[in-house]
Amino acid sequence: MRQRALAWAMFLALPLMVGAQSMSKLKPGDTIPASVKDIKMLSVTGHQLSIADVKGPKGTLVIFSCNSCPWVKAWETRIAEVGNWAQKQGIGVIMINPNDPAKNPEDSYEVMQQRAKERGFEFPYVVDATSDVARAFGATHTPEFFLFDAKGTLIYTGALDDNARNPEAVKERYVKNAIEALLAGRPVPVAQTRSIGCTIKFREKI
């Protein structure tokens, strides 16, 4: 009887455990996952780049994004502004598309090239060809931001700002505030936020 109750409890707990996948997401204090930091990814300019390659002297900003998500599109101009600005401050910036284009053709490499040109990304926009980089970060949706300090310790993760829909109504520029704090040697004002976004279309594991 007790065994049956235990089995039933475990059965019911399964979805909560599935939900808990998000708990494996990197948290402030974690470091860049060693298993993926040297993985080379094809950039829209045809270069093979890893997170280690783009690491900046003052820190590194890793962005998981894509071409197809309405949330990304709503934020895209601001992503370009913050990414381009951060790079000029000595922060290495890399934007990674982990989506399987077989699941949405809008996430193809060609569209990435086009989008980078249209939006003026001055930082690398690369393909996570196995989605393993996203898996290692525990990224679940696009867009998601991970800011590391110069030692490679995560100091901020979450959304770009507090209003995807309306740039005029933004009150908190989470990523920019965190970078400014990092550059000034202050603790980041907010270390973790969340936003709604599009579920990552992971490539199947072979």
Partner: protein
Amino acid sequence: MRRVIGFIGFALIASTLGNVRSEQAPRSERGAAPIIPVTAQELLTRVRDGKAQVTVVNLWATFCQPCVEEFPDLVRLEKTYRDKGVRVFFVSVDFDSELPAVRRFLQKQGVTYPTFLKAQDDDNAFITALHPEWSGALPATFIYDARGRLRHFHEGKGDFALFERLVQDVLQHPNP
């Protein structure tokens, strides 16, 4: 005279009902079920109104493929369990500009009851109010008991068997 008073009374009631309906359903169109904008607090107030044994809240969007794939199973769940006091609150997180697509999708799925649209701009506050462990990824499904206590949370795509199991758990164990 009595007939006139009766008519005035009827007109007043009809007018009041009309006002209530228009307040509750600002997004409705003729013949379509209303889509009601809600903040997280407004949604939770509805969840806690004590009108159902189980309330399933599903956060979805037309642009979210897994949401679209699991949607028919939730529609089926509502149909199967509505007589047992189970209701499903579909909450779209689509942008306002996508409302026509939301409405078309709901009609195609045969959803004839009111649904909701996330109205709060601050996603972080909305997510935190619903569940501190929700990453913000879609779909996300929350299952509450009659007292409005969150009993189950599932992030990612589910299916009928999963949702049925969770709903049955709450029906069978209303006071764990």
